[in-house]
């Protein structure tokens, strides 16, 4: 008989798909169900899942994954310009192109480990950023960003006689326009596929070997493994995830700018992964949800909104509170993010997932249960359990 357990991939995928696809419903009460934000959740979710395959499994911290995000974006926009407004070629080409670049950058960067690896990836990403801004302007359109124009070739579209509309055409999936909720659902389906691939990797011998490399790379060599190709595979896979995320950004908004490759974008995915829980399957997604949601809430606030929130306080006290908190909202929301990040790293080094695991353990103890079938701790170390 099949056991209903999180060890079973089918069960995990059913729950995950249900949660993702119904997101517009259950995010409504907290006001996070509008398409733009939902798309961001899904896109950055893909980015973070991929990043976690490298950082979470092998422990190699890349500070240059934004480069692949940017490459995916540019490739997607070029696919719209040259071939067709259909999103499928854009997604596929964006992912492959990022993979090619990841192979080259990874091949060089993986000659070093630890901080030197991080610095090498950072250097490559900053180089890509600078190139996109300056030398490569014919390809990237420099500062303005690459965008669609009326006289783009779109050879495949014109081949099939797609009528040119007035104004710029919009991205579509065989006619279905990719904006609003349909854009979200397209991203969501790819997120589900991406999560499934990540789940398979985490629970494969390949994934366990990556974890073992993180644990003791020297031992792996003397155990008979050539560790470099393993690391390179993980690097390329995670680069392809980043490329996919970048392509999706261009699909929901067909414009690619160099700032997508800046180191702050690389840093953001590091924050998301650590905040949620490095090396866990779900953690990076929680990190994405938390950061993108709060970014959205806090950056939209202004002093007058704060005044309203604190109106229950006596006026003099309310003024003081507003005077302090106004620095943490709007453009200053990064202060809030920084404080949040510090609290998590200090008190929950394993990220939000560690908090959840502790909570489950606490509840288990309170209820006096010996065994919970639903084990929230979906740590990488579960790979070898014989179920």
């Amino acid at each position: 008989m099949m056991k209903i357990s999180l060890q079973n991939n089918m069960v995990v995928m059913l729950i995950f798909s249900a949660v993702v696809l119904t997101a517009p419903l259950w995010l409504a009460p907290i006001g996070a169900n509008y398409p733009d934000l939902l798309q961001k959740f899904a896109i950055f979710g893909i980015f973070a899942i991929g990043f976690n395959i490298l950082f979470g499994l092998t422990g190699y911290l890349s500070f240059g994954h934004a480069a692949f995000l940017g490459i995916g974006s540019y490739t997607a926009v070029w696919s719209f310009k040259l071939f067709t407004m259909n999103v499928l070629p854009a997604v596929i080409l964006g992912t492959i192109m990022a993979g090619v670049f990841a192979l080259a950058i990874g091949y060089i960067s993986l000659r070093r480990s630890g901080i030197y690896f991080s610095i090498l990836t950072l250097a490559f990403a900053q180089m890509s950023y600078s190139l996109a801004y300056s030398v490569l302007t014919p390809i990237t359109n420099g500062e303005t960003g690459l965008q669609l124009t009326m006289d783009d070739a779109r050879v495949i579209d014109s081949l099939f006689g797609v009528e040119a509309e007035a104004g710029l055409p919009s991205t579509n999936l065989f006619g279905q326009v990719m904006s609003g909720y349909s854009g979200f659902y397209f991203c969501a389906v790819l997120l589900i596929i991406g999560f499934y691939v990540s789940l398979k990797i985490f629970r494969s011998p390949f994934g366990m070997k990556l974890t073992a490399i993180k644990s003791n790379q020297t031992r792996m060599k003397y155990t008979g493994f050539n560790t470099r190709p393993y690391l390179l595979s993980a690097f390329v896979i995670s680069g392809m995830y980043a490329g996919l995320a970048g392509a999706l950004m261009s699909i929901t908004d067909p414009l690619a700018g160099a700032e997508r490759m800046q180191w702050t974008a690389s840093g953001e995915v590091v924050l998301m992964t650590i905040l949620g829980g490095v090396g866990t399957l779900i953690g990076p997604l929680l990190g994405v949800g938390i950061i993108k949601y709060f970014e959205n809430i806090f950056s939209a606030m202004n002093p007058s909104a704060l005044q309203e929130i604190f109106s229950f306080l006596p006026e003099w006290l309310g003024n003081i509170v507003v005077a302090v908190t106004k620095h943490f909202v709007g453009d200053g929301w990064h202060l809030t993010l920084g404080a949040m990040f510090m609290l998590v790293v200090i008190f929950l080094p394993g990220g939000v997932m560690e908090g959840i695991t502790r909570l489950f353990a606490f509840i288990k103890k309170k209820l006096g249960l010996n065994r919970f079938d639903v084990d929230s701790e979906d740590h990488v170390s579960e790979g070898g359990e014989n179920k």
Binding site: Q7, N9, V197, K200, I201, R203, S204, P205, F206, G207, M208, K209, T211, A212, K214, S215, N216, T218, R219, M220, K221, Y222, T223, G224, F225, N226, P229, Y230, S233, I237, S381, G383, G384, E385, N386, K387
Partner: protein, 253 residues
């Protein structure tokens, strides 16, 4: 006589220090060969030269007819020479079972295999094999504990299981019983005797004379980077040269 390992004229210096001087050592197939010597005699350096961790300044290391000098550690492993380390080299974040599955995977998959869509849970054969290897060293009941959490003696035995599961033709053991309690040491001796019956060749570096004399077919004595004597346990026991260099002093330890 067929030699599985043939070390010829190996020299290694660190700065001005002669760690190994003109080492000549031949290991016969199917035997247990002990290398003894005082601390700093160069025993671990010699093993490191065999498995590719160090490259000797001169000389050859021939294993099964192939020169091992300059080969990558992972290739040496696949050639059939496996080392068990002195300070436990394990995967502390992984469970004991996973620690043993990893070397079994190396044996099966080779130096690199890209199989991200294979399910680990369906590798029942490997898991059974790993459980058996853990049972061999008496650790099967801790199989789902993290390897970092077990005692030092248990870690040594885990390492032994990791080496044994690869069924190497030559197993290099670096002080397999160091840090073990007496009854654990005896258990390890019994286990190593059992392996010998399977025909596995072993090189053991050891301080504990009880272990050496109960296991070894041949003993080489290393002192200050030179092999001063090689012979059967009886020959070594009665050699005046060895007594002077090593055995006499070790009584005080």
């Amino acid at each position: 006589m067929s030699y599985i390992l043939d070390i010829e004229g190996v020299n290694k210096t660190f700065g001005g220090l002669h760690a190994l001087t003109d080492i000549q050592l031949k290991i016969e197939k199917g035997t247990t060969h002990a290398i003894i010597g005082p601390n700093g005699a160069g025993k671990s350096t010699l093993l490191n030269c065999c498995i590719g961790r160090l490259i000797p300044d001169s000389g050859t290391v021939t294993f099964n007819g192939h020169n091992m000098i300059g080969m990558q550690p992972h290739d040496i492993n696949h050639a059939g020479m496996v080392r068990v380390f002195q300070t436990p080299e394990i995967f502390p974040e992984l469970t004991l079972l996973q620690n043993v599955i990893i070397p079994a995977l190396a044996k099966r998959d080779g130096t690199f295999k890209f199989n991200p869509f294979r399910s680990l849970a369906k590798e029942t054969e490997l898991q059974d094999q790993a459980m058996a290897a853990l049972a061999d060293v008496g650790l099967e009941k801790y199989h789902d504990q993290h390897a970092g959490s077990i005692s030092r003696g248990d870690k040594r035995r885990l390492e032994l299981a990791m080496g044994l599961i690869q069924q190497p033709s030559l197993l290099l053991l670096d002080e397999p019983t160091a840090g073990m309690a007496r009854h654990d040491t005896n258990k390890t001796i019994d286990l190593l005797k059992k392996i010998k019956e399977r025909g596995m060749t072993k090189v053991i570096i050891e301080h504990d004379m009880h272990v050496v004399f109960s296991l070894a077919d041949k003993i080489s004595v290393l002192a200050q980077g030179c092999i001063i004597a090689t012979g059967t346990p009886d020959e070594i026991r009665n050699s005046a040269k060895v007594k002077e260099a090593y055995l006499g002093e070790s009584e005080d330890e």
